[in-house]
């Protein structure tokens, strides 16, 4: 409870009662320690499982990784199979996703934070919908992508653009939510100061709020990208092929991606392909760690405290 000179002094027992605690006895310290121990135990279970998975995958996969593996195309011969087309497919998808989610996500977040009138029902409906959409399983977006992007009104076919747009749908709600949080974290006094000095609402946003919230937005975008490149289910539903021995040549080109290649190799009968899958998993993990490291660096480098 914060100290407030206007309130009468209270005893510790009263404070505890206010905070919903019983009397502090000799046993509560022991219980406290036991609780911490239980938490550590539960945390370690997750970490151990993760560690075992990483180590077994690493043991199978790392010996397979060499320049040939990175530069070869998929093959029916496990010793010749590589992931060049999968890596380029994944990069193309990331490019499409980034180009789509940054403007859409930031614009939506700005609208909701700065312009939307919350007394209007449609603005509240948009807000609730975005929060719900963030929790929708990615496979549902895959069905949506198949019905409306691959076929239906957009009819893009099984192309890089269709795959990228579908993945953008998967991560867009999360980008909007993180961008809103970043915008909200800018102290209102900065905007109010700008407005007081005669800036228009647009100038206050463009010159003050957006530059201040960029680290937060960029972190959200990068984390969303790393989620997007790990997604398999929507791409399978969209119908991306698993054997593609050439790199994408444009947005209308067929593609494969790392998670799809892993999915395909894991289900091959020949156990040599399982090792290739492990190696591809290691590469995918490496890319993910790299992306997350960039996100952490951005946050710590540019974050400002007010």
């Amino acid at each position: 409870m914060p100290f407030d000179p206007l309130l009468p002094p209270v005893s510790i027992a009263q404070e505890d009662a206010v905070a919903g605690l019983g009397a502090r006895g000799a046993g509560s310290l022991l219980r406290d320690r036991a609780f911490v121990l239980a938490l550590m135990l539960l945390t370690s279970i997750g970490l151990i499982v993760l560690g075992v998975l990483l180590v077994t995958t690493g043991i199978d996969g790392i010996p397979q990784i060499n320049l040939d593996f990175i530069t070869n195309f998929p093959s029916a011969f496990p010793e010749r199979a590589g992931i060049q087309s999968a890596i380029w497919g994944t990069l193309w998808l990331m490019g499409v996703v980034a180009v789509v989610i940054v403007p859409l996500g930031v614009a939506t977040a700005l609208y909701l934070e700065e312009y939307a009138d919350r007394t209007k029902w449609w603005n509240r409906a948009i807000e609730v919908n975005i929060q719900n959409l963030a929790a929708v399983p990615s496979i549902v977006y895959g069905i949506l992508g198949l019905a409306y992007i691959v076929r239906g009104p957009l009819s893009l076919g099984r192309t890089v653009l269709a795959g990228g747009l579908t993945l953008s749908l998967v991560v867009l709600p999360v980008v909007i939510i993180t961008a809103r949080e970043a915008i909200r974290a800018v102290p209102p006094s900065i905007k109010e100061g700008a407005l007081a000095l005669g800036a228009t609402h647009w100038q206050a946003i463009w010159r003050q709020i957006l530059p201040s919230s960029i680290p937060g937005i960029a972190t959200g975008v990068i984390l969303s990208l790393s989620r997007a490149i790990g997604e398999t289910a929507p791409l399978i539903l969209v119908g991306a092929a698993t054997f593609v021995a050439f790199n994408p040549t444009g947005l209308d080109s067929p593609f494969t991606a790392l998670p799809l290649q892993i999915f395909s190799w894991v289900s091959q009968p020949n156990s040599d392909f399982q090792a290739k899958a492990a190696a591809a998993i290691v590469v995918l993990l490496f890319i993910l760690i790299l992306l997350n490291a960039v996100a952490i660096w951005l946050r710590s480098r540019f974050q400002r405290r007010w």
């Binding site: 530069t71 093959s75 029916a76 980034a98 180009v99 092929a241 698993t242 091959q268 399982q274």
Partner: protein, 324 residues
């Protein structure tokens, strides 16, 4: 290439993320070999059983014709026909003939005409854990075990094996493909007498490796899946012979090819869109390559090749479709 103008900014954006250590974007290792002059896209999708075969064929053709871009998907026989009959793919891989009631009308409605080309053979292997020594089961016993009304809880309830020895006791614990699989359709049709009829209390998986792991790790496990998956894991599993009315026959390349492994051997197909065949030389090139090299491709894909007579049927069917 109507979106080509977007390619440069996107590629630049991608590179800006610092993940550049992945080689160059040229078409690399497949270029420069062979003297073929075909080019263009060939879209193949369908059965995951035929996938390794189609992949090997695509790789072979692209080795000769670097400008041909074959994509092979594995969305299952049913999923493949769905796309094929919507006109979205050129070739559909199938581990069963096209369904006359459901799939043929869709194809007809969309004006998709096709040729059916036999490309290889496949058999379903019945396997048990090494600790569950079942040598042979009759199709009736398999039906008693697997049909939807089955209440068999212990293998001993199946009585005697066709050779007269008792089926060893053990708690029934079953593994098989999920309902999307062509292997599932084939097994339930041939053994239980109706496609889709199966007992529900078994471990299903679309991934045959998971079935192999399941059966080999379960002391009373019994399962069924494609013969090629058995061959790759023969040391971990006990193979059960099947008595289809004329004695116990174990599945092998020879018994699957000549059809004596009854009733669980089957042909594998590629369905070719005849419009693609006529209008896209690369599609004709692909299927001709398959017909000309089917034995080599089958060897690479670890799948049972065609007999000479079967191959002739395929070539005749193709010649007819190409002439039409």
């Amino acid at each position: 290439m109507k979106y080509q103008w977007l390619a440069a900014p996107i590629a630049a954006g991608v590179l800006a993320f610092g993940v550049t250590a992945c080689g160059s974007s040229d078409n690399g290792s497949t270029s420069g070999t062979g003297g073929g002059n075909l080019s263009g896209a060939v879209a193949v999708d369908g059965s995951s059983t035929v996938f390794p075969f189609a992949q090997a064929a695509a790789e072979g053709l692209q080795g000769q014709n670097p400008d041909v871009k074959v994509t092979v998907g594995e969305s299952g026989t049913g999923g493949g026909f769905e796309k094929f009959c919507a006109g979205e793919t050129d070739i559909s891989n199938a581990s069963r003939p096209i369904d006359a009631e459901k799939e043929v009308p869709t194809c007809e409605k969309n004006g998709v005409q096709y040729a059916e080309v036999l490309v290889a053979n496949d058999g379903i292997a019945i396997v048990t854990n090494k600790d569950l020594a079942i040598a042979c089961l009759s199709t009736d016993q398999l039906k008693a075990l697997w049909n939807s009304k089955s209440t068999v809880k212990d293998y001993a309830e199946l009585g005697k094996q066709p050779d007269g020895t008792a089926v060893p006791a053990g708690k029934v614990s079953l593994y098989g493909p999920g309902t999307d699989s062509g292997t599932f359709d084939f097994f339930t049709d041939k053994i239980n007498g109706e496609k889709g009829d199966t007992r529900k209390d078994y471990q299903p998986s679309e991934d045959d490796n998971i079935l192999v792991q399941g059966v080999s790790g379960d002391k009373t496990g019994l399962g069924y899946f494609g013969f090629s998956y058995y061959e790759s894991n023969a040391d971990k599993l006990n193979l059960v012979a099947v008595d289809g009315g004329s004695g116990c026959v174990k599945p092998s390349v020879a018994t699957i090819q000549d059809g004596s492994y009854k009733p669980l051997s089957r042909p594998l197909f590629m369905y070719v869109n005849t419009k693609s065949l006529a209008e896209k030389p690369q599609v004709k090139g692909f299927i001709d390559y398959v017909a000309a090299n089917s034995a080599d491709i089958a060897k690479i894909a670890k799948i049972v090749p065609l007999t000479d007579a079967q191959l002739q049927t395929s070539k005749d069917e193709l010649a007819k479709a190409e002439g039409a």
